[in-house]
């Protein structure tokens, strides 16, 4: 038992070391295209974590993610764009003080963005968390749209439909993976604690959870606010990654993109989210080949824009059809499971016997 633990720990360290070496190699290669994709993977991990906490672990169908991301993104943008640039960007109406002369360190702005998103989640949660299932989804979806419309119209705060540009590119490889790693660790610790068990109980059966003395409202609110916090941080990273943001970035499609990762990885599996974030991010780029001109011998095209999304949707359908619970279900990745599979005795006829 103890030996197994040491082996697992060793393998985990090895995997992390390989990952770090991979990141170093990507950074050293000077391949900017690859570097961008690899960074986006980490941002998507953060966003997927946020959505998994509320939808996967707590079982609340919330679709407000894009709204919380927008809050984080605009907070980070407004607090990091250099003062001189701000005057150039806000041409129609000047930026309101004190934001017009204020800049803060990147890490602090991420934190503030997350906190504002969480505070907003509290206000939204007060009425919405009393709703169940589809109703909660519709209410949070509406909230997300309200945020977008507000951003479009708050000219002197957000520069409206023109959006914000010249956001310093603070989201380096190490910032992205650093934030993702810290949030992964904290979230893993939270869901394996007594509070995590309580959230899962709410997901499994609200009536039974309440009869066991778990305050539904308190625990739903906790998950909702933490999820919004993480989404805010993720939105901040995204803003710094993109360099420009606008209200159109935070349409409902953005929420669905994240939802896709969570569903693919498995609702209620952290490692599933990580795996799916890599697969989806890299997959979407890799399939870009399909959009370009193709010559299959019997069939030639000069490039069909959007073909990759058709193929991608098909792949997603396959996942949903054959892995109904995503790649991982509610399980987590574990070495002992993999080692157990490798060591499984080979039965007669060379067939692997079922456990």
């Amino acid at each position: 038992m103890k030996q197994k633990k040491i082996v697992s720990l060793g393998l985990s360290i090895l995997l992390l070391a390989l990952l770090a070496a991979g990141l170093l190699a990507v950074e050293g290669s000077g391949n900017n295209y690859m570097l961008r994709i690899v960074r986006l993977c980490a941002i998507n991990i953060v966003l997927a974590l946020s959505m998994n906490l509320i939808n996967g672990f707590t079982g609340l169908f919330s679709l407000g993610q894009a709204g919380f991301m927008a809050i984080g993104a605009y907070t980070t943008a407004l607090l990091t764009i250099p003062v001189a640039k701000k005057q150039m960007i806000f041409m129609i109406a000047p930026l309101i003080p004190p934001l017009d002369t204020l800049t803060l360190p990147f890490g602090v702005t991420l934190l503030i963005g997350g906190l504002i998103a969480a505070a907003l989640a509290f206000l939204v949660g007060l009425p919405c968390l009393r709703l169940r299932g589809d109703y909660l989804a519709i209410a949070t979806l509406g909230f997300s749209e309200i945020i977008r419309v507000l951003i479009t119209n708050a000219q002197s705060l957000t520069n409206g439909a023109q959006g914000l540009k010249s956001i310093p590119g603070n989201a380096t490889l190490w910032w992205c993976y650093g934030v993702a790693a810290v949030l992964l660790l904290l979230m893993g610790l939270l869901v394996s604690s007594s509070y995590g068990r309580a959230l899962k109980a709410v997901r499994e059966d609200e009536i039974a959870a309440e009869a066991m003395g778990i305050s539904l409202f308190k625990h739903k609110m906790l998950a909702f606010m933490l999820s919004a916090f993480i989404a805010g941080v993720g939105g901040g990273l995204l803003a710094a990654y993109n360099g420009t943001i606008g209200p159109d970035m935070f349409r409902v499609t953005q929420t669905y993109n994240v939802l896709m990762i969570v569903v693919m990885g498995g609702m209620g599996s952290i490692t599933g989210s990580v795996l799916a974030a890599f697969l989806v991010t890299v997959g979407q780029e890799w399939l870009r080949v399909l959009d370009g001109p193709m010559d299959l011998g019997f069939f030639q095209t000069s490039g069909i824009a959007g073909l990759r999304m058709v193929v991608f949707s098909g792949l997603l359908l396959v996942v949903i059809l054959f892995f109904r619970n995503g790649l991982m279900g509610t399980r987590e990745f574990s070495w002992s499971a993999i080692l157990g599979r490798l060591k499984r005795p080979v039965g007669p006829g060379g067939r692997v016997t079922k456990p």
Binding site: L190, R197, K200, E204, D205, I207, A211, G213, I214, S215
Partner: protein, 259 residues
């Protein structure tokens, strides 16, 4: 002098035009086992739901150890010491047996969520106590061997036991059992009778149960209340209830004269 643990005073539950429970008044003394019986649809589970806070009585009051708990939320009432099981088993199906019991200990946790997340020393201490308590309970219930299994994968009888273990884990003073013997054969039902008696002794508990298995009810109960169409039609010791004409009529129907 015995003390009343639970007191229901003129409680009425109305759903639109339907009066599910009408002016129910009853009490349970410390460490008593009281049964609530009656034909299907008599309002027994509705009475349970009023006591546990699932429904707020249309009128009337409910007291736990002289404290008014009328209209409190279910989780608040559980915290004050009433635990229940469900007629149609409601376990956390995808979670392990151990987790099911640990979840029921969550309400006694004093650590805040950041403390729990960061595994501060006090939380680790609390978590260890939780696990010890859960281990004791699972061993007592004969579920220790299956602690790692998913709750949904347990055989029916064990699921019922797990529900009771989970209810006991909240450290109640009053345990409500909603048809604990439903779907059990006579041998299992006998075993359950012994278990309920033992639970009362071991945990010094007061127990209110709804049950249709009359053998079990008559064996185990100190007193019985009989509901019919939402009205309390009789109360008394098992012997008194067995010979009560009104009760017999409610269960078997009124014999009509031959025309």
């Amino acid at each position: 002098m015995r003390q009343k643990v639970l007191e229901i005073s003129h409680a009425t539950m109305q759903f639109g035009g339907l009066v599910a429970v009408n002016d129910l008044t009853m009490y349970i003394d410390t460490q008593e086992i009281v049964a609530l019986i009656g034909p299907n649809g008599a309002g027994k589970t509705t009475a349970f739901n009023m006591v546990t806070g699932v429904y707020r009585p249309t009128s009337g009051f409910i007291f736990l150890n002289k404290r008014d708990i009328t209209g409190m939320r279910p989780d608040q009432i559980t915290r004050l010491g009433i635990a229940r099981t469900f007629q149609n088993i409601r376990l956390f199906r995808a979670l392990s047996v151990m987790d099911n019991v640990l979840i029921a200990r969550h309400l006694r946790l004093k650590s805040s969520w950041p403390g729990a997340m960061l595994r501060l020393p006090f939380y680790r201490h609390e978590e260890r106590l939780m696990r010890e308590h859960a281990e004791e309970l699972l061993k007592y219930m004969g579920l220790w061997e299956v602690r790692g299994e998913k709750a949904a994968s347990l055989p029916y009888g064990m699921q019922r036991k797990l529900e009771m273990a989970r209810a006991l884990a909240t450290e109640p003073v009053l345990l409500l059992l909603d048809e604990p013997a439903a779907g059990m054969n006579p041998a299992e039902s006998d075993e359950l009778t012994a278990l309920i008696g033992d639970i009362r002794k071991t945990f010094k508990l007061t127990i209110l149960l709804i049950e249709h298995h009359m053998d079990l009810v008559m064996d185990i109960s100190d007193r019985i209340y009989v509901l019919d169409y939402g009205n309390l039609i009789a109360q008394g010791s098992p012997a008194e209830i067995q010979s009560n004409d009104v009760v017999i009529q409610a269960y078997l129907g009124v014999q009509e004269d031959d025309a």
